[in-house]
Structure formats: C-alpha cells, structure tokens
C-alpha cells in the first residue's frame, strides 16, 4: 500500500529573501524626518512661481525671505523672537514646577487628591484664553499676565498627565519596594517618579504646544514686543510677507519643541522596548 500525499491547496513561502541592501536606507533618520516640511516648502515655491498662488495674497518664499532679512538687519526679529522665547521658557519652567508639585501632592496622598484633583479639573474646563482679559485687568499689561497665561496652560497639562502616571504606577512594584525595605524617599524617587515619567513626557509635549498657543493670545493684546506683536502690526500694515514669516516661526518653534520632547524620551525612556515601527 502506498500512501497518497495530497498537497495542501496553498503553501505560503515564509523563507526570507537575501538580507536587505543596507546602502539603500543609508539616508539619516533626521533627513528623512525633515523631508515632509521641506516638501511643503517646495510645493509653496512651485505654486508661487507657476502663479497658482496670488502673490498679493500669499507671497512667494523669496519675498518672505526678503521680509525676514529686513527684520534681521534692523534687529527687530532677534529682539521680538528672543522676547517671545523668554516668555515661553519662563512660563514653561514655572508650569512644569507647579504641575509636578501639585501632581505629587495629589498623587501621593488621599487628602491631596481630594483637595486638588477636582479643582484642577475645573481649571482644565475653563478655556485658558477666556482668562486673558481678566489677567490683564488684574495684572496690567506687563510681562506677568503673559507668563501667567503660559504657566497655567503648561501646569494643567503636566498635572493631569503626571497625576495619572503616578496613580498608574504598578502596585506590585510598590510592594516589592516595601519588601526590600526601601524608604519613603527611595520609593518616590526610584519607583513612583520613574514610573510616572512616560506620562509626564506626554504632559510636557501637550504643555509645550499649549505654551506657544498661549503666547499667541498673550501677545495679541497689548504687547509691545514679541512675535505676536510683529504679527498684529503686520496685520494692521497689510504686510502679508511678515504674516507668513511669523506663521513659519511658530511652525519651527513647534517642531523644535517636539524635537526636544523626543530627545528627552530617548534619553529618559531608553528602558522601554516599545514598538519602533517597521
């Protein structure tokens, strides 16, 4: 008797081909990451030269570059961008400090949670920018209301994410720390805070976006310096090239903030072997 082997209807070929050619993907990551924004710029230039974009309403890249050069030559761009950056940095640092401290108070103690959490949810519900007029009435038109506006937005994002990160720390690890006789300080600095770090960085990312958004609002009213001031002046004087330039500056600022958070994630979350993409 011979056995009759029937072939299955279909066999998948799972054998891998030759190793992929490494030279083909030798383009550095950062170049690939920049390709999107560069393509946008290119599309803009092409649309302008072909006349698809009305140069009166949407100035071509060269005109915007010219406007930028004029502002640099007269020193206005450096002064205003510098002033705005200072506001964002000050407001963000303050916001991080306040957000982390109240997240610790609410995250580590029951009473802190009861006192703080619902209050912060109230603040979260109030649009930051609804406060702008009030802040100006309370604090005048100096630096304080601008920085306070940025600080509040950042603090709320940092708080909400860090707090949920602290509450999400694996209880099993807290138990281990107890059985290993870790002190309260070791428990906080080496178990709870590192455990909350991924969420903190999510908060930082959202906080930084909110910081630039707050800046626009803060500087659009009664500012005498800053990119928001440049923006509203350009609007009044119908300088569309400057308006576009300011948009680009906001975009670059956002991109740099994002790069900063990614850098921090790589440095601080190296222990995670999360999905890296294919």
């Amino acid at each position: 008797m011979t056995a009759v082997l029937t072939r299955p209807a279909r066999l998948d070929d799972l054998s891998t081909g030759p190793a992929p050619d490494r030279r083909r993907i030798a383009v550095p990551r950062w170049v690939r990451r920049l390709s999107g924004p560069v393509l946008l710029l290119l599309a803009w230039a092409v649309s302008s030269t072909t006349g698809w974009l009305d140069p009166q309403l949407f100035p071509p890249p060269a005109q915007v570059a010219g406007a930028a050069w004029d502002l640099v030559r007269t020193g206005q761009l450096q002064v205003n961008v510098g002033r705005s950056m200072l506001r964002v940095v000050e407001g963000t640092l303050l916001g991080i400090g306040i957000g982390v401290i109240i997240a610790l108070l609410a995250g580590l103690t029951r009473i802190g949670e009861d006192l703080i959490d619902s209050t912060m949810q109230v603040f979260k519900a109030v649009p930051n920018f609804a406060l702008t007029p009030l802040l100006i009435i309370w604090m005048g038109i100096g630096e304080s209301p601008k920085i306070v506006l940025i600080t509040m937005g950042v603090a709320i994002h940092i708080y909400i994410n860090t707090y949920s990160g602290i509450r999400g720390v694996d209880a099993q690890l807290v138990e281990v720390a107890q059985t290993l006789r870790a002190g309260r300080r070791q428990l906080i600095t080496q178990v709870i805070l590192p455990g909350a770090m991924p969420n903190f960085l999510v908060g930082l990312r959202l906080g930084l976006s909110s910081a630039w958004l707050s800046l626009i609002f803060a500087e659009s009213i009664n500012a005498t310096q800053g990119i928001g001031f440049l923006m509203s002046r350009a609007q009044t004087l119908l300088q569309f090239d400057v308006s576009v330039l300011i948009l680009i500056i906001y975009a670059v600022a956002g991109l740099l903030s994002y790069a900063l958070v990614r850098f921090l994630e790589r440095r601080l979350l190296g222990w995670r072997n999360g999905f890296q993409g294919v």
Binding site: Q172, L173, E175, V176, A177, Q178, T179, L180, R181, A182, G183, Q186, Q190, V191, P194, G195, M197, G270, W271, R272, N273
Partner: protein, 245 residues
C-alpha cells in the same frame, strides 16, 4: 492585628499560631499553626485560592489585616511569580536597590554572578528572558542575606526546561546561604524535588505536614518519589490516570 515581630526563639525562624484572615465573609486562613526551623526548606502546597499566597503575604509583612501571632526574622526577602524588576533600572541597580553600605554595588555584582548572570549587569529587565529575570529577582533577594526567604510560585511562569535549571540553582544557593525557605507552589513534583518538608494547606488549615525522605540528589525516578507524590496528590484530592475510560 498581627505583629510580624522581629524576634523569635533562636532555633525557630518562623512561628505562626492561630493565624486567621478573611476577606469579607470568605475565611481564607482559619487558625494556621506553622513552625519553620532555621535553615529549613519548606514547600507549601495547595489549590489555587487555598490561601497559600495570603499566608506568604502575611509573612512578607504585606498584609496587616490578619489576626494571630506571627514571629519572623526581620531579615526577610521575597521572590514573586512575576520577577517584579523595576523596568527603568538595569539589572545591577535592580539587585542593589535599597541596599545600604559602601560595598552595595560589589555585593550586588557578586550576587548576580552567583545566579549565573555575570556580564548582564547592564541589561534592561525588558530584554531579559523569563528565566534570567527571575534569576535577577533571586539575586536581589539573596544579596540581603535573608534569614527567611519567601518564594511565591517563583517558577510558575517559566518553561519546563528552564524550571529544571532553576531548581538546581535554587537548591545550590540555599545550601550555600542556608536561609529558612517557605516555597509556595502548586506543583507537587517541584515541592518534592526541592523541599525537606512539605505542608499542604486546604480550606484555610494545614491538613498535612510530612518530611521528604527522598535521598539527595533527587530526580523524578528517585526511590520514594512516586509514593510521596501519590500521597500528596491524594491529599489534594487529585487523581491522575489520564485517558481512563
């Protein structure tokens, strides 16, 4: 309220009497009595939900709601089924976590070498295999020179081949450091291979307490292994004979 009191009579590592613990109406432990001699290796068998882990958690000082008298040395260490390493610390700092003394790092390094992980000091826990992670967890417990080592189904998540290697390692480490061991498991073979004495926990009470008279080195075909195994399975109310009509 129990006190896990730091002191006990010199020859005893653990003395438990009248230990009870209930969760709501569910009485998990109902007056357990157990004594463990210094340097003794005890395995505790029981079905899931028999209260084994509850008892171990009381001894570990993680349960303050139980009533009864529990005396245990203050130098205790626990190894859980899940290695519970801090994922944001590399292997060596995990072992050295909460260790005191100037030589903490060196001691941690020696402990890692002892469990066969020399050279893995800088590995992240998430890159370790299950067996390796559990060995780091063992090193973290042993580096504290415990007088009482509590093992809560430490090999439950490991594959059968890794498990055999871990048995040898654990027994070796135990004979070198001589802590009293309470090894909680539901694997009858594991209990016989490792322990000097086996207790069975059923319905919140110790229902059996037998010495393991199987000569060392032990394997599953050692004399006396099958007999003891059958006795323990019967006590646990389990019958083999798979495939019987």
């Amino acid at each position: 309220m129990t006190d896990v009191s730091p002191d006990s009579t010199p020859s005893q590592a653990v003395e438990i009497s009248g230990l009870s613990r209930s969760f709501g109406d569910h009485h998990v432990l109902r007056g357990v009595e157990l004594t463990i001699t210094r340097g003794e290796f005890i395995a505790m068998l029981g079905h899931s939900g028999s209260g084994k882990s509850t008892l171990l958690r009381v001894l570990a000082g993680l349960d303050s709601e139980a009533s009864g008298v529990v005396l245990a040395p203050s130098a205790r260490a626990v190894v859980f089924q899940n290695p519970r390493l801090l994922p944001w610390k590399r292997a060596l700092p995990n072992v050295a976590f909460a260790l005191t003394g100037d030589d903490a790092r060196d001691r941690a390094k020696a402990a890692l070498a002892e469990v066969g992980l020399a050279g893995k000091e800088n590995a992240w826990p998430l890159t370790l295999s299950g067996g390796e992670a559990q060995r780091v967890s063992l090193a973290r417990a042993l580096v504290r020179e415990p007088e009482l080592l509590l093992l809560d189904e430490p090999f439950g998540a490991l594959d059968a081949l890794t498990r055999i290697k871990m048995y040898r390692l654990l027994r070796e480490l135990w004979s070198r450091h001589r802590p009293a061991v309470l090894h909680v498991t539901h694997d009858v073979d594991e209990a016989i291979l490792l322990a000097d004495r086996i207790v069975v926990l059923s319905d919140g009470l110790l229902s059996l307490d037998v010495p393991v008279d199987v000569p060392l080195p032990r394997s599953r075909d050692s004399a006396g292994f099958a007999g003891l195994r059958n006795r323990l399975l019967a006590e646990l109310g389990v019958h083999e004979g798979i495939g019987a009509a």
